[in-house]
């Protein structure tokens, strides 16, 4: 449906600063009607990946592929692309123009795409799909007259008005109250069931993945480090980073399993050599004597392929030990 292949997005540094490798070779494929949760700390590149999927940032290398054809970055191609791949942003209050009515906010997309026949019908049906019922009751309202959950529904209605095939939602519920959170997540599930919509949901919240996603991609420092179904990744995590994320979930952690990584999310302008996680990796620091420990410092565990029958983790301690002089598997050597 929508795929990224060896995607690399780099932001130039100022003057003497090194460039930031925000997305550093990522493969990910979103199937039809599938919801993928993209999980990671702030600064790991998950929002940049989301923006690249919508065509808002141009990658330095790699491709965004929709229905088998790679995205070209011409104005017309982008326009076409964005009609079927819509972005839903984090903060609905900021995403909605406070001086526009709900009608104008939802109609903006169709107008820009020249879909002005039956505009009223289109807006009403989008509001209806987004759970604002009856739609007539909301048309003349302004954003400040709506609750946070309703505002986010208006944002989603604005995306639905273009009848997209994919929603890319960047932290869609992180600014919402607890009760509205569940309602908006339920809406995303309903849209998948009723319209067959695929979604990539970017979040730092593992509970969100458990609530709605089919697969989870865990991202660290520009790269996906673990990928698999929700059950595989969240119940049987393989990568030490995923394990650490799960161990710090408030409320459910126990003192003995708590793995508190030190420091903040690392710096994408200075990605460590070898495995990019090794400076913070609890497994690496425990297993200094292990034969594979030097690999963590010296060898990149490789880029995960977009699709695989097996759960995948980019960790030297997870992949079965190859012969002494073997090179750790790279994506290019894994046949799909």
């Amino acid at each position: 449906m929508l795929e990224v292949k060896d995607l690399r997005v780099t932001f130039a540094g100022g003057r003497s600063a090194a460039p930031a490798r925000a997305v550093d070779e990522v493969n990910l494929a979103l199937r039809e009607g599938e919801i993928i949760a993209l999980i990671g700390e702030s600064g790991c590149g998950k929002s940049t990946l989301a923006r690249a999927l919508v065509g808002l940032v141009k990658p330095q290398a790699g491709q965004v592929i929709r229905k088998g054809s790679p995205l070209r970055y011409s104005k017309a191609a982008l326009r076409q692309h964005r009609r079927s791949v819509q972005l839903v942003l984090q903060d609905p209050a900021g995403a909605l123009n406070p001086r526009h009515t709900v009608y104008d906010l939802v109609a903006e997309g169709p107008r820009l795409h020249g879909l002005t026949d039956d505009l009223y019908q289109r807006v009403c049906s989008a509001l209806n799909q987004a759970g604002l019922r009856p739609p007539e009751q909301f048309l003349a309202r302004y954003p400040h007259q709506l609750s946070g959950g309703q505002q986010q529904r208006v944002v989603i209605a604005g995306a639905l008005a273009l009848a997209p095939a994919v929603l890319v939602a960047d932290e869609p519920v992180s600014s919402l109250d607890a009760s509205a959170r569940g309602e908006v997540l339920r809406l995303l599930l309903e849209l998948r069931d009723s319209l067959g919509l695929s979604a990539l949901v970017v979040s730092h919240d593992l509970g969100l993945a458990w609530n709605i996603a089919d697969r989870v991609a865990v991202m660290y420092l520009g790269r996906i480090v673990e990928l698999g179904t929700v059950e595989e990744v969240l119940l049987r995590p393989r990568h030490p980073y995923t394990k650490a994320l799960l161990s710090i979930l408030p409320g459910s952690r126990s003192a003995e399993s708590l793995t508190l990584l030190q420091g903040e999310a690392p710096d994408p302008t200075a990605i460590p050599a070898g495995c990019r996680f090794h400076p913070r990796c609890p497994l690496y620091s425990q297993r200094h004597g292990d034969a594979r420990a030097p690999w963590c410092r010296e060898r990149d565990p490789g880029v995960l392929p977009a699709l695989s029958e097996l759960p995948l983790a980019a960790c030297h301690f997870v992949t079965p030990a190859p012969a002494d002089d073997a090179v750790p598997p790279l994506a290019s050597s894994v046949s799909q």
Binding site: G43, S179, L185, W210, N211, G251
Partner: protein
């Protein structure tokens, strides 16, 4: 109204903070907004109390009123006794002495709470110099040891806020709150803007500090699981009142108010099959605080409301050992009452599904 409940205190340990019948309203007359509608609780030294609630539930207004930090348009009534002395009727000089030195506050959004043009050292030293007869050099030494306590290198003293990460700024805020050795700290959403891993670090820090210094801690959050990391007891607020109060583990495992259950269900436990592909929300919106309604304020959204809920409201009532709830169902006469139909509300899918009638 049936009867007010009071918490049973241990006579040997005088409470650190005792709040009784606290009410806050903004504006006057028919348009006045009742943000806090009668809150009672007490906190002992070394105890951590978590206040949970959604935006608009009055939780921030409540804790701001403790230290008289609300603007003049707010009308505050009731009592906030700190070591037996009512803060609301103190003269200003005494209030200023209590702030920082007795009770201090950690605000949400450390980005905006720090002065961008002053160094960390200047900002930590300021309250120390104001409150204590101490030289600049000694104050700076204190600031340096405070930074150490919150896990920052002393070299960061000369940094400006923009040179620090979000988590480091929040640590500086905590160091400032500790600067004058208070015995009460109020933390308003201390981890909201932070990343998951940093949030876990800050929660660990707050927990250690509260335990090691026997500081009374009041922490606000919309996330019950965050509060339960740190707090001994939880108070759940809805529409300006506490609707449930009790030991953290009990409230989490067996909530006695339907709103507490809804808040707990909103954040799923990973591995819980009931939550898989099944997010729980709560339909409807909190009531308009300008309208005084009869009955329980949660009844219009409550999945287990009874006809009596539309007309009756109770104050916090014992619902178990050391537990209080304002749900009518804690009263013996309503304990097993069926869900009513007399209360207008949106259909609650979970409560009605698969429940054949007759």
């Amino acid at each position: 109204m049936i009867a007010p409940a009071t918490e049973v205190g241990d006579a040997a340990v005088p409470p650190l903070l005792e709040v009784s019948d606290l009410r806050v309203s903004y504006g006057v007359g028919s348009r006045s907004v009742k943000a806090v509608r009668g809150v009672d609780f007490m906190l002992r030294s070394g105890e951590a109390l978590g206040i949970a609630g959604e935006s608009g539930s009055g939780k921030s207004t409540l804790v701001m009123s403790f230290l008289r930090l609300l603007p003049a348009v707010a009308t505050v009534t009731g009592q906030v006794r700190y070591h037996g002395e009512d803060i609301l009727t103190m003269n200003w000089g005494r209030v200023r002495a209590v702030r920082w030195a007795g009770a201090s506050m950690i605000f949400q959004g450390a980005m905006s709470a720090l002065n961008p043009v002053r160094t960390i050292a200047q900002q930590i030293v300021e309250p120390i110099l104001l409150h204590e007869k101490i030289g600049a050099r000694a104050a700076r030494a204190r600031a340096s040891s405070l930074l150490h306590d919150v896990g920052l290198p002393a070299a960061r003293l000369n940094a400006y806020p923009h040179e620090l990460s979000g988590g480091q700024r929040q640590r500086v805020m905590i160091a400032m709150a500790l600067a004058c050795g208070p015995d009460l700290i109020i933390a308003d959403e201390p981890t909201t803007a932070l990343d998951v891993m940093v949030q876990a670090q800050i929660l660990q820090l707050l927990k250690d500090l509260a335990a090691n210094r026997s500081i009374g801690l009041i922490m606000i959050s919309h996330d019950l699981s965050v509060l339960s990391e740190v707090c001994d007891r939880l108070a759940v607020m809805y529409a300006g009142s506490i609707c449930e109060l009790g030991p953290t583990a009990d409230v989490r495992s067996d909530p006695r108010h339907p709103y507490s259950s809804a808040l707990l269900d909103a954040f799923p436990e990973i591995g819980d099959p009931a939550a898989r592909r099944n997010p729980h929300g709560l339909p409807g919106d909190p009531p308009d605080a300008t309208i005084a309604s009869a009955g329980c304020s949660f009844a219009p959204r409550c999945p287990v409301a009874m006809p009596a809920c539309a007309t009756h409201e109770i104050e916090l009532w014992p619902s178990g050992p050391q537990r209080l709830s304002s749900c009518l169902r804690v009263l013996p006469e309503f304990r097993d009452a069926p869900d009513g139909t007399g209360v207008p509300r949106e259909p609650a899918e979970s409560a009605t599904e698969g429940n054949p009638v007759g």
